[in-house]
């Protein structure tokens, strides 16, 4: 168990006596006269030093509600206290700011609820990925559902209409009994919440590994679209302006979710933490979305903030700190689902589907009218002041009186010790070259083994539970390279989004692993014909108090920041999730990277399925012998060692430029990125997903067939050439110094690799399709 984290058996309720609403609350006046009263800071996840620091900042002991507020605001989840030093690199190394009107220009960067990117034609896009790992393990359905709800409100708080979601999921071994509990619950929760909210789910990831058995990863991404003028910020300014809490009532759910659940390692007794998991109501969220957009369009929002982790504490502190003003809040006015809640619990509750707005007094009546039209409860609970203090009263007494920035932005910052793990060199030295390779006659069996491996199998069992059609703008969705959403029906402007991560690569080398995740998402977006523009990330790691984990984290952040600088794709925001471990054993370091790209005209997007019999097939990019951390080494031999594939960002950038130009000029009919399982898996997928049913191909491989088929060298795609475009494509590739290899032609109903094997595409489809239903029913 980590220092500062609570024990697994503790019940996560408000501190001490404040738990009972009927008891008198601890007040500022009482705190002044009882300076030595013991306080349960450790149970709330604060260290002795942090507690003393709060006392020093206040010049007295905190009241119980203040202690509750600081405990959630200074939690790892909310304060980024262990990661902040490293995350600075995303800003420090950010690529040069793009010019006015240039697609990809940042309108809001790190530090806001979500980053905002100019995509041209007056449109901006905001997107962000966030973890909901621990809640999804404790209570898979609600944990995953509220993960969707939380990220959607982040997008909404920027002024955007949410238009799509994605989910990046990692579980323990597919056949493990607990995976049968967790996976269907998580998928069901995402399906329930996202479908009911009316947001298309356009893709993501699904992977399995024993390292996630006691700590699955559930990372949810949302993307929203707005006009430039609709951009909003979380600030409270203008003394006399009203603070309005609207949406669902506050209940005793999710109390301490940010601190005792998200910022501590699991150590048994997880069932006792279920009260720390929030309960979602997507119907209320849908009303909240429509209501917020109407409020914004009516010009009634002087400031807005969503209530996510740390609930009212976070919203009030961040709004007050963001505006540099002060705020008074009367906690008696917070509408409650459970009247026995005391002030500390009100401050810590993470009840879902709530927003907070700052509204000029003359607009309050219209604000209330719009909320009433949408049946959304709205209550004025306070006022902006010029005092620079965040003051809260409860039953007529002052229970909170703090400088808001001390909670919002001046929390502790740790320079945690980092040390290269003891076994790291031995791991790198364990080269997969020693593994026995299949004989030529066994290549087909190897391919079938990979295709029936759950990570590479058909994911329809999952994706069919998600509505991908709602809103009518989904141009591409899973299993395509990236999700593509149309933004403007008239011009065809759209965006592409992909998330990728590979824990095995990152375990072998976190610097390279983060860059490979970036490169894959970048390539996936490029493979649709879009120009990659911006990055979000969800950094899933073990305990930051373990120097080995901290080294992994520091390396991954450095790798990602360097990679983004090189590729010219700024990090616009993201999320760090620490304490992903079971006992002392951390998960593989798992940076998940989301890349957003811009498509000038979605009608020119490239699908991955082969289309036209007789068309030429080409491989773009160079193939080396990259087997460290590969699907082949792991799925066939259970081997993880050596070096991950060699990163070549120059080649990635050149490849992306070729793909964007080729899509725009109509030189390609289809393209599929090469990643896990290499060319063999990519060919199989493109055959199975043929545009008019299964489409075969005849392929001749230059060089060693095993390496050509299963190596995972990055910066490669397999592509179908448009009729008559061979010469133009060759010239384009030459201009960008991208190697082109003729592979063969599309045609027939079999995947034929000359001199190696021939297999019916229907068989490939059947092998892949049978896997998940056999496991999950």
């Amino acid at each position: 168990m980590s220092a500062g984290a609570s024990s697994g058996a503790q019940t996560p309720h408000g501190p001490g006596t404040a738990a009972a609403g009927t008891a008198a609350a601890d007040t500022v006046a009482a705190a002044t006269v009882t300076p030595r009263r013991p306080q349960p800071y450790a149970e709330l996840g604060l260290t002795e030093e942090e507690y003393q620091r709060i006392r020093a900042l206040l010049g007295r002991r905190p009241t119980d509600p203040e202690l509750a507020l600081y405990s959630v605001m200074w939690s790892e989840h909310c304060s980024y206290k262990s990661s902040r030093r490293h995350l600075r690199q995303f800003a420090d190394k950010a690529p040069p700011v793009k010019g006015d009107g240039e697609a990809g220009r940042l309108l809001a960067g790190i530090g806001h609820n979500a980053g905002v990117v100019d995509i041209g034609q007056g449109y901006a896009v905001t997107f962000k990925i966030e973890s909901h790992n621990h809640p999804s393990y404790v209570e898979p359905f609600q944990g995953a559902a509220t993960g969707v709800g939380g990220i959607v409100r982040d997008i909404l708080a920027m002024g955007a209409r949410p238009v799509a979601v994605m989910d990046s999921l990692r579980f323990g071994p597919a056949g493990a009994p607990d995976t049968a509990r967790v996976l269907p619950g998580v998928v069901g929760g995402i399906s329930f919440y996202g479908n009911c909210l009316g947001l298309p789910n356009i893709g993501g990831e699904l992977a399995f590994d024993p390292c996630y058995a006691g700590n699955p990863l559930v990372n949810a991404l949302c993307v929203g679209v707005m006009r430039h003028e609709d951009l909003r910020f979380a600030v409270a300014r203008g003394a006399g302006n009203k603070v309005i809490l609207f949406g669902a009532r506050t209940g005793p759910d999710g109390i301490g979710g940010a601190s005792v659940l998200a910022s501590a390692s699991f150590g048994g007794g997880e069932a006792a933490k279920r009260p720390s998991v929030q309960v979602g109501d997507p119907f209320m969220e849908k009303l909240l979305v429509e209501c917020c957009l109407e409020l914004g369009a009516a010009g009634l929002l002087a400031g807005i903030q969503d209530l996510g982790a740390a609930g009212v504490s976070c919203a009030t502190a961040e709004l007050a700190a963001g505006g540099g003003s002060g705020m008074t809040v009367n906690l008696d006015l917070v509408p409650l689902r459970d009247s026995s809640l005391g002030p500390a619990e009100i401050l810590m509750s993470e009840s879902q589907e709530r927003m907070m707005a700052i509204v000029e007094p003359q607009h309050v009546a219209r604000f209330a009218g719009i909320c009433a039209r949408w049946d959304v409860p709205a209550t004025v609970i306070g006022e902006v002041t010029g005092t620079g203090r965040l003051e809260m009263t409860w039953r007529g007494e002052v229970v909170v009186d703090i400088a808001p920035q001390t909670a919002a932005s001046q929390g502790p910052v740790y320079d945690r010790p980092a040390a290269r793990p003891a076994g790291q060199d031995a791991l790198a030295a364990d080269d997969p070259a020693r593994l026995p390779r299949p004989a030529p006659g066994e290549l087909l069996d190897t391919m079938l083994t990979l295709l029936s491996w759950p990570d590479l199998a058909d994911k329809t069992w999952v994706t069919e539970q998600y509505d991908r059609h709602v809103l009518g703008d989904t141009v591409l969705a899973a299993p395509e390279n990236a999700g593509v959403i149309r933004v403007d029906e008239r011009t065809g402007l759209g965006v592409a989004l992909a998330t990728d991560g590979n824990g095995r690569y990152s375990r072998l080398d976190p610097y390279a692993g983060a860059q490979l995740a970036l490169a894959e998402a970048y390539r996936n977006v490029a493979a649709t014909g879009a120009r990659p523009a911006a990055v979000t990330n969800c950094l899933n790691f073990g305990s930051p108090e373990d120097p080995a984990v901290m080294w992994q984290f520091a390396e991954a952040v450095r790798g990602l920041a360097d990679g983004c600088a090189f590729l010219g794709t700024p990090v616009t925001g993201g999320n760090v999730s620490f304490y992903n471990q079971t006992g002392d054993v951390p998960i593989h370091p798992t940076p998940v990277v989301g890349v957003l790209g811009v498509l000038p005209d979605v009608r020119r997007r490239l699908p991955l399925g082969f289309r036209r019999p007789g068309a030429g097939l080409v491989l773009l990019g160079r193939t080396g012998a990259d087997f460290g951390g590969s699907a082949w080494a792991w799925a066939v031999h259970g081997h993880l060692g050596g070096r991950p594939p060699a990163v070549d960002l120059t080649a990635e950038r050149a490849l992306a430029a070729v793909l964007a130009a080729a899509a725009q000029d109509g030189l390609l009919a289809a393209a599929h990125d090469l990643s896990d399982g290499g060319l063999a898996v990519a060919l199989a997928e493109s055959c199975v997903r043929g545009q008019s049913g299964p489409a075969g191909c005849h392929v001749s491989l230059p060089g060693d067939p095993f390496t050509m088929l299963f190596s995972e060298s990055p910066a490669r795609v397999v592509a179908e050439v448009a009729p008559g475009a061979e010469a133009a494509l060759a010239a384009l590739c030459q201009r960008h110094e991208v190697p082109v290899t003729d592979l063969g032609t599309v045609g027939g109903d079999r995947l034929e690799v000359a001199g190696c094997f021939s297999v019916a595409v229907d068989r490939l489809a059947a092998v892949r399709a049978a896997v998940l239903p056999a496991l999950f029913g």
């Binding site: 399906s191 479908n195 119907f283 009303l287 009518g472």
Partner: protein
């Protein structure tokens, strides 16, 4: 004249924009109708779109049928106003007793989003007149409670009176009785369909353009009137 097709938005309606887009693509004028308002704003036909009205609380469509707009819609439908209920809209029409039967949980109990083929069996309604009889079209099924059910006598009557508008070709994906995907009332003006024709109006964003026929059919019928 331009056909005015009302699209009702309930709290929790999700596919209302898509229905409106389909009406416009069919050459009609989409008239937004709000659940809490009385009157149909001169609409010549009305679509109840898909979604989760009132969060599916109590039972799908059970609360929506009591919305103020329904007080005007129900008598108008009984007097011959063309009404199309899609997915949740179909559920609402059943709850409002404008259509017989009910929709219940999919066999398998999971939400399904799948492109499905349905066979048009009744092209005498204002919503299906543009299709050939027995024509197979591809539309989008996306629902958790999409299995059509009715008692044996009702099913027999539907079959005998030709009220089955469309059936899933190649078997029901959700356990619907007799593979029924769409039904109509005895007068033929009210149609409920579980899969979504409005998500099949453009190959760019759906399986093709087969679903547009529901909207061009009604627009043509109204203009000809």
């Amino acid at each position: 004249m331009t056909a005015r097709v009302g699209i009702v938005t309930f709290p929790g309606s999700l596919d209302d924009r898509d229905a409106a887009r389909a009406v416009r693509r069919a050459g009609g004028e989409a008239v937004p109708l709000w659940h809490g308002d009385r009157g149909l704003r001169g609409a010549d036909a009305v679509v109840l779109p898909g979604g989760f009205s009132y969060g599916d609380y109590l039972r799908c469509g059970a609360i929506a049928r009591f919305a103020p707009v329904m007080a005007d819609l129900v008598p108008a439908a009984r007097s011959g106003l063309p009404v199309l209920g899609i997915c949740n809209g179909f559920q609402i029409l059943c709850e409002a007793h404008l259509l017989p039967g009910a929709l219940t949980h999919n066999a398998g109990l999971r939400f399904i989003d799948r492109e499905v083929q349905v066979r048009i069996e009744h092209n005498g309604t204002p919503w299906t007149s543009g299709y050939g009889r027995q024509q197979e079209i591809t539309v989008v099924l996306k629902s958790g409670q999409g299995a059509y059910l009715a008692d044996g006598a009702t099913l027999a009557r539907l079959e005998a009176d030709g009220q089955v508008v469309a059936r899933y070709a190649g078997g029901s994906p959700n356990g619907a009785a007799r593979d029924i995907a769409a039904v109509t009332n005895p007068a033929g003006n009210v149609v409920g369909i579980m899969p979504h024709p409005e998500h099949a109006i453009d190959p760019l964003t759906g399986p093709g353009g087969d679903g547009l026929g529901f909207f061009t059919s009604v627009v043509r019928a109204l203009v000809a009137r």
